[in-house]
């Protein structure tokens, strides 16, 4: 037992679960340093913190995935030993992870049955489907129990995860960054569901780093930073946004971006009637046309899987397409990525570790990815390691990439540092067009601010930017124009977008006015 009960007001409702003095370390990191955390019955408790604050570690302890080195977990006042997720679910604790744990080829009902000991022998899917439908209706979730998971949108898959846990008897539901994959309307719908579950006496732990959401949905808020709790169970009504941000980041945060007025110049990128297929061979882009001018940020708003990733790949030469992709008057559609690079197209890819970097190679090798063909790194056929190293050193300092040495493999870098490395490399190659896909996903508040400023500086220098993001706030803060994509088409355009456009943009992102949110994406 470590530390006194930090709450001033005594809990009026019984506690559903408690974590007491949890300590959990990983090589080189103390992820949880004597953490206390409790959840009352029937409440929505938000756990707020930056990446690496220890939120997920704590939740994985509660979900039976990690075992703490010290401290323990109590359920309804009883100490329990959670050795596996199976133990946790038996104790009524279920967790929805960021990456779903569903079998795509199976139906919703089959997925719900996974991991259960019943039925013992005869599989009566019809009965399960009826049970699933009843459970879903109880909490206001709409899901077709007979649908196959791969046919469902991300939002629907999330609902299946929730129903699965409820079906398995979860009384406490832990959701790890559940809104990261959702459109605004889907988020609102999720919040309604969570509220109705809490009203029915279940408890919800809601992990997030988005202040606005937390203030909207939470009954209580716990903030973590650097493996410790910095605010425990505070009431959202008495706390300001800026205070929460300070508790989370450890210093005052003010997103004061220097945004200079730039008169857009000539057209740098012109996409004309481009169509392309996705990796599964299904149509992903259906006749997209758009233009980006020098000194302009054009934002693409879309729910994941509506063709925006394929659009970035088409422009950067990584995906075949029909139609024309004209950069500086030259059609590069269907040409290899080397041609796009030579035309001055920079690319901050969506998948940093999978596409944007070579994980086992050093910072040096990764930082010269755009420069190895040219002097000074290339001298004839030879590779000048000295020149590569001095370039890498220069970029590491200029962009504050924190790493033990420039020889370290980049896989040891944190997400934020890896993203800085990629941005450093792309910006340093002085692109005339930068295609940035989800440039701040997974970064913490301080880092996001830095990336936003870098993008605005590029714009001020006359670079054309195509910014593809699922964060509407980010697009509103940065973009001069926002285009909405839905099912592989540009369905709406907003000039000089502002906060008052959020509802309209959100509506178009989910398929236009009147369309139900479960309308399926072009995936």
């Amino acid at each position: 037992m470590a530390g006194p009960e930090p709450l001033v007001n005594a809990p009026s409702t019984p506690l559903a679960i408690e974590a007491v003095g949890v300590v959990k370390s990983f090589p080189g990191v103390l992820a949880n340093d004597h953490v206390d955390f409790d959840v009352r019955q029937g409440e929505i408790h938000a756990l707020l913190g930056e990446n690496g604050a220890g939120k997920s570690t704590l939740m994985n302890v509660l979900a039976g995935l990690y075992r703490p080195e010290a401290g323990g977990v109590r359920v309804a006042g009883q100490a329990v030993d959670l050795r596996s997720p199976r133990d946790a679910i038996a104790a009524g604790i279920g967790m929805v992870h960021q990456h779903f744990t569903l079998v795509p080829s199976q139906t919703v009902a089959e997925n719900v049955l996974l991991g259960l000991d019943r039925p013992r022998f005869r599989l009566d899917l019809k009965r399960t489907e009826a049970e699933v439908a009843r459970l879903a209706a109880e909490i206001g979730l709409r899901v077709d129990p007979g649908a196959r998971v791969w046919q469902l949108s991300v939002g629907e898959q999330q609902r299946v995860e929730i129903i699965k846990l409820l079906f398995h008897g979860a009384r406490v539901l832990i959701l790890d960054e559940p809104t990261a994959v959702l459109a605004p309307q889907e988020t609102a719908e999720l919040f309604t569901t969570l509220r109705s579950m809490a009203d029915a006496g279940r408890s919800v732990v809601f992990i997030s780093h988005k202040l606005g959401e937390v203030l909207t949905i939470a009954d209580r808020i716990t903030v973590m930073r650097g493996g410790k709790v910095t605010a425990s169970g505070i009431d959202p009504r008495g706390v300001a946004r800026s205070d929460l941000a300070r508790l989370m980041v450890g210093r005052p945060v003010l997103e004061a971006l220097k945004r200079t007025a730039v008169e857009p110049g000539r057209v740098v990128l012109s996409v004309e009637d481009v169509s392309a297929h996705n990796d599964r061979g299904l149509p992903a882009l259906r006749g997209v046309s758009l233009q980006v001018r020098a000194g302009e940020i054009v934002g693409i708003a879309a729910v994941a899987g509506n063709g925006q990733s394929e659009l970035a790949q088409v422009i950067t030469g990584l995906r075949a397409c029909t139609g024309r992709v004209v950069v500086h008057g030259r059609n590069i559609a269907g040409r290899p990525s080397r041609v796009a690079i030579a035309s001055g197209v920079g690319h901050v890819p969506e998948d940093r570790a999978g596409v944007g970097s070579a994980p086992n190679l050093s910072l040096v090798d990764n930082l010269i990815l755009r420069r190895f063909r040219h002097a000074p790194v290339a001298r004839g056929p030879f590779h000048d390691e000295g020149a590569a190293r001095s370039k890498a050193q220069q970029l590491q300092v200029a962009y504050a990439i924190s790493a033990p040495t420039i020889n370290a493999p980049v896989r040891i870098l944190s997400g934020g540092n890896l993203q800085r490395l990629i941005l450093a490399r792309e910006i340093d190659s002085a692109p005339s067009l930068l295609v940035a896909v989800q440039p701040t996903r997974g970064l913490d508040v301080g880092a996001i601010e830095g990336v936003h400023q870098l993008l605005l500086d590029l714009r001020a220098q006359g670079t054309a930017l195509l910014l593809i993001s699922e964060e509407l706030e980010e697009l509103l803060a940065l973009a001069d124009r926002i285009l909405v994509m839905y099912e592989g088409r540009v369905t709406a355009a907003f000039d000089a977008p502002g906060v008052h456009h959020v509802d309209a943009i959100g509506l178009h992102m989910t398929g236009g006015a009147g369309a139900a949110p479960e309308e399926r994406g072009a995936r």
Binding site: N60, L65, R67, L318, I341, A358, N360, L369
Partner: protein
């Protein structure tokens, strides 16, 4: 008592070479246990292996003769493995190289009596080209159609052997025996013993010019992989092909070219073996050099100069094989080394925690 594996972050740079050496030591220790079990004296056996392989200049020379084809095929594998192209067809490419070199004198492509300065380079070229063609088949299939190179290279080994057998049993057979007639002296690679007239010390030493080919190839590959743009591009493709494509590298072209070069190196090994050692083509020309090469490339962790060291070790084991009863001992040690190397790889990526301490189980 529990054993748990935890992923490591950054493995320290000394770890990999230390584990490689440890794997060899452990393999020798396991081999010693087996030897003791069958009633042998392990220490005497190992001393005998050392003596039989390095004991005097004569056997040292023989060890180098065995190491020569291993270096070339080892480089062939190491080069392909750097790009994560699993060329396990060095054996077949070796055989085709031997066949190509033989064709120069047996077909004959050059008339009898042509001087060595013409015959030898022609044989080198023919051997390398034949090996390269054998490498190009899986290379092109992989690059253009995405055919799994492990299957194609493995299967082509059997095709190559059948091809050799056809020629040595048929058109080139020496009176019905499964070998060809001996090559004329012009088709022999010079050996040290050939210079015994001037330097009597060299008498009886069979080390031949193929060793020089192997060392030159090692030096060239070492420079290419560490100091050229191609080396950088290969590193990139090997670590993350998607990142390489993103960087504008034409991966298909690299797959084809690297397979061709890999095949050419193995082909040159075959040429060096027929021209430097056997002086005729037989169907049993290789005791599995192309397969041992896989272990060598692995043991050398794909480093060209380390391939030379590993090849000498394995050359010694092969040589000692004819001295030791039962002669399966070196083959057993080879196998155990491979086994220990793969096991040691786990330790590079994971740390092992013993005992009741609670650790991550994900």
């Amino acid at each position: 008592m529990t054993i748990r594996f935890e992923p490591r972050g950054e493995a320290p740079p000394w770890l990999s070479p230390v584990l490689t050496l440890a794997a060899v030591v452990v393999a020798l220790a396991i081999g010693a246990v087996v030897l003791a079990f069958v009633g042998g004296d392990p220490i005497r056996t190992y001393l005998h292996i050392v003596d039989a392989a390095f004991g005097d200049i004569g056997v040292l020379s023989d060890t180098l003769v065995k190491a020569t084809p291993l270096i070339l095929t080892g480089l062939a594998c190491a080069l392909a493995f750097r790009m994560r192209l699993w060329n396990i067809g060095a054996e077949g490419q070796f055989l085709l190289g031997a066949w190509g070199a033989s064709a120069v004198v047996l077909w004959p492509i050059v008339p009898a009596g042509t001087p060595a300065v013409v015959v030898i380079p022609a044989m080198m070229l023919a051997g390398a080209v034949a090996g390269a063609v054998w490498g190009l088949i899986p290379g092109v299939l992989k690059a253009r159609l995405g055919v799994n190179e492990i299957i194609t290279t493995l299967m082509l080994n059997y095709v190559a052997l059948a091809w050799i057998q056809f020629w040595v049993f048929g058109p080139w057979s020496e009176g019905g025996f499964q070998q060809t007639v001996p090559f004329a002296r012009e088709a022999w690679l010079p050996r040290l013993t050939d210079f015994a007239d001037q330097f009597p010390l060299l008498a009886g030493l069979t080390t031949h010019l193929g060793l020089v080919f192997a060392l030159v190839a090692t030096a060239v590959m070492s420079v290419v992989v560490s100091r050229t743009r191609w080396g950088y591009e290969m590193r990139l493709i090997g670590d993350n092909a998607r990142a390489a494509r993103y960087a504008g590298i034409d991966i298909a072209r690299y797959v084809i070219v690297v397979f061709a070069i890999s095949g050419a190196l193995a082909g040159l090994a075959g040429m060096s073996e027929v021209s430097g050692v056997v002086h005729r083509l037989q169907d049993r020309i290789s005791p599995g050099y192309g397969f041992t090469a896989i272990i060598i490339a692995y043991l050398a962790r794909l480093g060209p100069w380390r391939v030379v060291v590993a090849s000498i070790l394995f050359g010694a084991l092969i040589l000692a094989g004819r001295e030791i009863q039962p002669s399966g001992v070196p083959a057993m040690i080879q196998g155990i080394i491979m086994f220990c190397l793969i096991a040691a790889d786990v330790l590079v990526r994971y740390r092992i925690r013993l005992g009741g301490r609670v650790a991550a189980t994900t």
